[in-house]
Symmetry: C2
Subunit: 344 residues, 2 copies
DNA sequence: TAGCGTGCCGAAAGGCCTTTCGGAAGGTTT
DNA sequence: AAACCTTCCGAAAGGCCTTTCGGCACGCTA
């Protein structure tokens, strides 16, 4: 266990002051770069601090400042597929080392969530980011909290909260527009659980883009589960009914993987005969398929950055005003790979 | 932004004391369940606290106790594939709400790691768990830290540190033993980057188990990259040279997915003709393949729990002794699915 | 030489809580 | 009635730091 014998008790500021032969106040000022300290004195203090390997106790600082420089990330995203990029974006935005993040996983349990929420408030976090694992609205934490809250990925069901979530409608549009640009006109849509807002929103975008182009969807939107199995089954049925389909928009990369499997089994070439586009841009799935999968990326890291910036703004302004209430739909991004455009 | 107007300043203990008509000390004792307080008085204080929605400032408490009840999780695991289960295990072990975890991602950058380390120490975490993304030893943080450190997944290169890591050799053995139990005798091994200790260790286990059974590996161990592409290519070459192979141990689930693809293309039935076993038990890959993939699970959540418990022990004992220094190899687990055993 | 400004330092308060210890009030024993 | 104990409460110190503000010493001007 790494615990130095000598470091049993961390050096405190008064240790430094004594070592440097100055008062507590002067030591503090020297270390924090305040003026009112002669250069020579400052030098002396700094050297003493160095020798004692003094690190200022952030607890005491926070107590005085009334601010801890910490943020709570409250999630129910078990797998961490969404929460990790969001966390990284948040870290970026805050600036490494300036702000630290408490990560709490409520595991989809409201009681545990309350528990964690209370713990975070006791620790006097400056703000809270709530990350859901679906884009369906989730219950608000309420407005009687002493710190700002931003909802990421899953928006709050209260429109006076601040929420940031990917623009799934735009994602659906983007997918179709890309297929159209590739010259496809007979386009189908296979997606996941119809209970998910993500599935519905993407389908809306798909239909809208087709309507704009004066086209209709080939067959109905096929909803079921977010799995490869469904991708395989659905595409088999689709091809049986509509052998002339030349483009398939999938509601997730998993579904797209299944679709690719079936097309391959049926002897269809991708992208020559049928172009396939996925959703989520989950690297491990998208870059390992045959061919590699074009996909829609939700820019989760950017989402995290945005959430962090919103928190930041809210922390800065002490008037308690509520800037940017409402659900903000963030743009998504197309990542083109071999499943829609043959490689040269 | 959720910020109640009335909650501009959180209630402090002296507010409660005043409201209840008692002194600071009494209020403190009442709230913390100390004796030396008359039941009636306690009741009065509790009610006042309730009404003011008082939450004790954990900062001040920590300052006094010399303990914060927080732990730092320092990772370089970008994708979070390993860190999330470990984090969850740690949360479990600490007991939700008792201890909170600061998650810091160093992104494989030593400077950033130092930065985060310093921030964690300033915040006076009680301990640090370091999570790597490979099982190769990583540089120690050193022994001159004022808090205990446990290395998880990636062990420290210093044997006097405490490390917990999955037993990859046992995993390799387990895979082969399972194939043997399934009646396979012509077993090959396709795995990832030979620079990874994980690849080497698993290969050692594979060879050892075969040797114990008086068998030899079919062909050499095939090292390359941890990708589906490699799984596809390697198995194609393997089958060309050794058409009689009847079992393939893969170094990862990704590789196994590629292997399954190729076997399917070649008209081999899995598991009837060839049994395939993966590694990592990455649900999204293992349960979506055709057939579903038998795999070795590293019990990461258990790993996290163990790491947390070690930290706990070290925190408890104030004598600075170093219990359990060294690298602890934790048992892994076989998850049987359709790729080795035909479903009934 | 008296008066004034400037530059630097230190005493002390304050942030929020816990704990120790002294002491008041009430009841019990001799 | 005196001595004692128990029960409960409160003053104060302490944990570590920052900030305010008063004051000392020095050098300058009149």
């Amino acid at each position: 266990m790494a615990r130095a014998d000598g470091a049993a008790r961390a050096a405190t500021l008064s240790d430094v002051a004594r070592a440097a032969g100055v008062s507590l106040a002067t030591a503090s000022k020297a270390i924090n770069g305040r003026d009112q300290v002669a250069p020579a004195t400052r030098e002396r203090v700094m050297r003493a601090a160095e020798e004692l390997s003094f690190t200022p106790n952030q607890l005491a600082r926070s107590l005085i400042a009334g601010r801890t420089g910490t943020v709570g990330l409250l999630t129910s995203d078990l797998e961490g597929r969404f929460v990790i990029p969001i966390l990284m974006g948040a870290e970026d935005a805050f600036g490494a080392g300036q702000v630290n993040v408490f990560l709490c996983d409520a595991r989809g349990d409201a009681i545990r969530e309350q528990h964690h929420l209370k713990a975070l408030l006791n620790r006097r976090v400056d703000g809270i980011i709530v990350v859901g694992r679906q884009t369906d609205p989730r219950p608000s934490l309420g407005h009687d909290l002493p710190v700002p809250v931003v909802y990421a990925y899953a928006p709050s069901d209260d429109p006076t909260d601040v929420s940031v979530t990917p623009d799934n409608v735009a994602g659906g549009r983007l997918a179709v527009e890309h297929l159209l640009a590739c010259g496809r006109t007979r386009i189908a849509h296979i997606t996941g659980d119809p209970e998910y807002a993500a599935a519905q929103d993407r389908a809306i975008g798909v239909r809208a883009a087709l309507a704009d182009a004066g086209l209709e969807l080939v067959g109905d939107v096929r909803f079921s589960t977010w799995s490869e199995h469904w991708g395989r089954d659905a595409s088999a049925m689709l091809l049986a009914q509509h052998p002339d389909v030349d483009g398939i928009v999938c509601g997730s990369d998993q579904i797209a993987r299944g679709v690719l499997d079936t097309l391959r089994d049926l002897g269809k070439r991708v992208p020559e005969d049928v172009a396939v586009i996925g959703y989520d841009n989950w690297e491990v799935l998208a870059t390992n398929s045959r061919p590699e999968l074009t996909s829609i990326d939700a820019n989760l890291q950017q989402l995290g950055r945005t959430a962090a910036m919103r928190i930041f703004e809210a922390i800065e302004r002490t008037d308690g005003a509520e800037p940017g209430a409402g659900v903000h739909h963030l743009p998504v991004r197309l990542v083109i790979r071999g499943s829609t455009v043959a490689r040269r």
